[in-house]
Amino acid sequence: MGGLKDKLEAWVQERIDLVPIREFAAKKKVPQFVGSFWYYFGGVSLFLFIIQVVTGILLLMYYQPGAQTAFESVRFIVVKVKFGWLIRSIHSWSANLMIFSVFVHMFSVYFTKAFRKPRELTWYSGFILLLLSMGFGFSGYLLPWNTLAFFATKVGTSIAAVLPVLGEPMLELLRAGKDVSTATLTRFYGLHVAILPAVFTVILGAHLMLVQMMGMHEPEGWKSLPAEKRRYMPFFPNFVLRDLLLWLIVLNVLAILAVAFPWEIGFKADPFISAPAGIKPEWYFLFMYQALKYFPAKMGMMEGEAVGVMLFGVGGLLWFLVPLWDTRTPSGARNRTITWVGLFVILFIIALSAVGLR
């Protein structure tokens, strides 16, 4: 068998020079320290994204958009199709875990200041991937066309409309009309299965390429450590095998969640019934939903909600641009302000989510 493998390698080598790739793989290494654990979350996010692509394609085989068919086809998948309930449940659970993992990944990069020079572009592309992931979540939520999804989309898109000038056109662009209707469903479907995947894949490719080009980030103060204290782990095969083991664990957790707590289908959306009591957005939108509740109806000339939405916009933009306002980015020195800001953001998100969950 070894002969065949050698022959195959020789065949490829004659056509593509594999030596630089091998050298690159042999040189790639990962710093080993207390925080090494956090390095795994990028890989976990990637793994969950792959699961989303596979299960998403499987769901596509049966799903039919449209007010008369969407809910029925999801019910068909769950009730009639063999393992349909499992595929659908995994898709929903994996979506949530992916958002969670992406958040953990982002905060770990933030606190280790891995966004600093030369990795600013990696940070920017990662932030865009986070926004796209939330877009996936928001658009995918509507597709089963159930009551919760219908009203969540109504509220979510209405929030866009509170913005001055651009709000109304944006609302109509999102909804494909003045109201959430079957046209909205078609549009979200196109967004969820075509536009977002295409854009996401391109940016993910760039993100991963940047990670490879720059190598793993080394923590602050690493350079000043004596050489014998700087321990590394080879990326191939040591880190990759650990990665794979963790992926296996994640897959098992996912399977347990999907089987033990199958995702519900709810009730079919009806535009002419009242919004049900206890209606809430998905957990990763909860902190914004809760925060907006605290804004008064009017703040000066503006609607309180518009002020809130704009504050979140500004906050998000500042977060995105952190490599620019972290004044110690170029020198790589410690910056405690960054850490405090990050801790505040985490506490803010956790506290408001907890209040919103009640």
């Binding site: 929030i159 002419f272 019934i273 009242s274 009591a277 509740k293 109806a297």
Partner: protein, 148 residues
């Protein structure tokens, strides 16, 4: 300065500008139809001015019904006082559909805990405006709601 060289540079920049204008024009001619395509054409739907919302005998005092009025939901409620009132069912906050809470004797929106009194006035929570009120006429057993 040699006039010939100068002329060459200006010819190049002239052509570059021309090319730039061409690119912008081309982009515009591609993007404009896409943008226009994404705007949904207005559909001329005959909006009814009145509708039979419920049967009188089906709607007990302190109860309500949400019904379809044209393309939007509306709510008809028989108040605790036995008086029929009808409003737009669309919450003035973020457009969820409201419901009547017999326990509170208020119109309530579940999405953000908005509250309206029996006259549709916004009294608590985030709704910025009262609900639009409709006219209610009882004809025989039919409760007819119309836009006033």
């Amino acid at each position: 300065m040699e006039p010939g060289v100068d002329q060459n540079i200006s010819r190049r920049s002239f052509l570059n500008n021309l090319l730039g204008i061409g690119v912008v024009g081309w982009l515009g001619s591609v993007l404009f139809p896409i943008f226009e395509y994404l705007k949904v054409p207005p559909q001329s739907e005959a909006e009814p001015t009145s509708v039979v919302a419920a049967k009188f005998k089906d709607l007990k005092p302190n109860h309500s019904v949400v019904f379809k009025f044209g393309s939007a939901p509306a709510i008809l409620l028989n108040g605790p006082d036995g008086k029929m009132r009808a409003f737009s069912g669309v919450c003035t906050h973020l457009q969820c559909t409201v419901q009547y809470r017999p326990d509170m004797q208020k119109i309530w929106c579940a999405c953000h805990n908005g509250m309206y009194d029996l006259n549709g006035r916004n009294i608590a929570g985030p709704p910025p405006k009262p609900l639009q009120e409709y006219k209610v006429v009882v004809k025989g057993d039919d409760v007819i709601v119309s836009k006033a």
